[in-house]
Symmetry: C2
């Protein structure tokens, strides 16, 4: 598909090196011609890893592999290929993953069960892993500490732009870096990570802590976006921590020294998640949906996601139609408690519904003007409790159908 999403950031961000991480991109030729489709990352000895994987009942072979080796919590390498997801490929698919891990392990002089694998692309076609393993040695020769844009580009499928984000913080007064890359633009829905995302940091943190940081941040970032309500078989979010930073050990999740790091991690992940929604297949508008007054944060997120997934809401936004009745409909079907007569809905800050009906000062023209913009802000107060969450999405356009009615050909 041609053309970069109109909602894309102006450019790929400047991203710092992360001590202990080297990466690079190469071409396997497995599916795509004339572009990189392979990412290899090497991690220093002692690197710890945490991950969240798709909750799909039909996960891909790489997901099963990651699930198997994650409990060990150590990582020395990461191999990602784009174009073939290696899903529903039977025992041959599992063997392909094992061979890839083994081959990378040999090159990186590391145990195979410390090599993480992720694949994205078409489902159900046999993966020719020989093309990948043959490309690895040459790729290894050119890995470096600055290849973020190349790495992010190599893992793209229908993405129209490469996605990266980074932050610097301190732990204990010592500088720590967090850098992440991600891909995803269709088959995006919140039932876990919903795409591929790899976050790298030089922080020195035990696996248990990495997990306790990663899970809530995933809920508020990658699990708070939706493009089409579909969940991939390959969703993978991995957080690698090399431990090269010079701060003293942190062992308790409640340790205050972690506060800045926790916020920065969520920031990087939210930034990447929003970029994915901005690259939603065919997206012409970026939607920020703030729900408050819900029974709980989780309830607020559920309502937000139901509204964000509603084809009728998404098409109304695509059509720049201030049809707020569809928001009422979508809130109603979420199944979460709402006090209809106290609920307040605003679009672009303008109150459209209140008191169980159209808001008294409602002026359709004001809302219509907001809807002509590229950034749509909708806020809904359910008037039940104190739970709040924000969800990001995009509209549903003809281009989504163009892309998806013709993906494979």
């Amino acid at each position: 598909m041609s053309g970069i999403s109109p909602l894309a950031p102006k450019k790929f961000p400047a991203m710092p090196e992360v001590a202990g991480v080297r990466l690079g991109a190469g071409a396997s030729g497995e599916r795509y011609k004339g572009r990189d489709d392979l990412l290899l990352a090497e991690f220093a000895e002692g690197t710890r890893v945490a991950g969240v994987l798709t909750q799909s009942q039909t996960p891909g072979a790489p997901v099963k592999w990651c699930r198997e080796i994650l409990p060990v919590g150590r990582a020395r390498g990461l191999v990602v290929n784009a174009g073939n997801a290696n899903v529903f490929t039977g025992k041959a698919g599992d063997a392909a993953v094992r061979r890839t891990a083994k081959s990378a392990a040999k090159i990186l002089c590391a145990p195979a069960n410390e090599i993480f694998i992720a694949s994205t692309g078409v489902i159900g076609e046999a993966l020719n892993d020989a093309r990948i393993t043959q490309a690895l040695p040459a790729l290894y020769d050119k890995i470096g500490t600055k290849s973020w844009p190349d790495g992010a580009r190599a893992i793209m499928t229908t993405d129209t732009f490469a996605k990266g984000a980074a932050r610097r913080v301190t732990i204990d007064g010592e500088s720590v870096t967090i850098a992440g890359i991600a891909k995803g633009s269709g088959m995006i829905a919140p039932n876990m990570a919903t795409m591929l995302a790899f976050i790298f940091t030089d922080a020195r943190l035990p696996v248990r802590l990495l997990n306790s940081l990663l899970r809530p941040a995933t809920a508020r970032s990658f699990n708070s976006i939706t493009v089409d309500g579909d969940t991939s078989t390959s969703d993978t979010c991995l957080l690698f921590a090399t431990g090269a930073a010079r701060h003293r050990a942190v062992t308790r999740a409640g340790d205050k020294r972690l506060n800045g790091f926790r916020a920065a991690l969520e920031d990087v992940m939210t930034d990447l998640a929003q970029q994915i929604a901005r690259d939603g297949e065919g997206a012409s508008k970026f939607i920020t949906l703030s729900i408050r007054g819900a029974r709980s944060e989780a309830a607020a997120r559920r309502v937000g996601l139901v509204v964000a997934n509603s084809p009728l809401v998404k098409t109304a936004i695509a059509g720049e139609d201030p049809n707020w009745g569809r928001l009422v409909m979508a809130v109603g079907r979420a199944g979460e408690q709402v006090r209809t007569e106290k609920m307040v809905i605003t679009i672009g800050g303008h109150k459209v519904a209140a008191g169980g009906k159209q808001a008294p000062g409602y002026v359709e023209k004001i809302v219509a003007r907001h809807m002509k913009g590229k950034e749509i802000a909708i806020a809904i107060d359910l008037a039940v409790g104190a739970g709040a969450a924000t969800v990001w999405s995009c509209d549903l356009t003809h281009k989504y159908i163009d892309i998806n009615a013709d993906y494979r050909s």
Copy 2:
């Protein structure tokens, strides 16, 4: 929107009279110009009623009214208007319903709490019920026993054809008639009746029995279709039984004399439900999705509906792309148990997936040929249990977006 759905039945069916039911159509001018938008039905004294209403947390005023009067179980009249759903219209909306019921009650010489009301159309706009009540007297003068097509046409919104179905059976050797009309083509999803449907019979059955017949039949018909996953605030399915038939009283749900009636009722409702899916906004293909091997019937239905709602599945079908990997993805995200390595998927009877991978004898050309047709048959065996269910849906096309990005203008 112009043009009748390419999946529509050739013509409106010949429908018999139902003793004790008279109906007619009229024009209120509330929203639409130059067409009927009002249905009035009169029921003989002694008519019993059962109903299923939307589970939306933001139901319309007519739904609240029906919920209030359903426990009485008696019905003398039905008023339905199209164009304005009278939803999220505050206290004024409730008052409009009460005035409409009162006005119809006066004309029909019946108590107001035996007058059922349903509305469909735009949400959040005040209903000018005076237009409805003013039109009722003239409409009452022309009601009759044969106005099924007119009645079915009057309740349409974005529907492209009127929907009716009827069956004759016997109870106790005596002839009994079941006739139904329905409307719906967008905002169709399974969280109850998902549209307006009115079923009329002359059977003589107590309210308790009507309810016990209606609920499972709703699960297998109207709750087994989906167009876009959105649930209306106005979903209403009512079953009116005039008791004019001459069979002896039936009081137990287990009574074998009911078997034929039960099957015929489900038949009428399934017929109407399928017509709604065939009129799905922008539909170019009718999809029959048979799930078996699930833990239970309900689990099978859930999987079927998740697959049928997947935008990626729906767009692949619109694009005539035999991309069965998306079926695997959608099954996986349903969250129901599946034995991946034993699961079997067929499209148009041709095995595409088995043994955890592409089926050995798979020939893409055969599937591609099936997908060029208007009727798509997909069968999925989850290989877990004995639960089975069939779900009906349609594809997702550019026309859906045309219709919904511009509904109100």
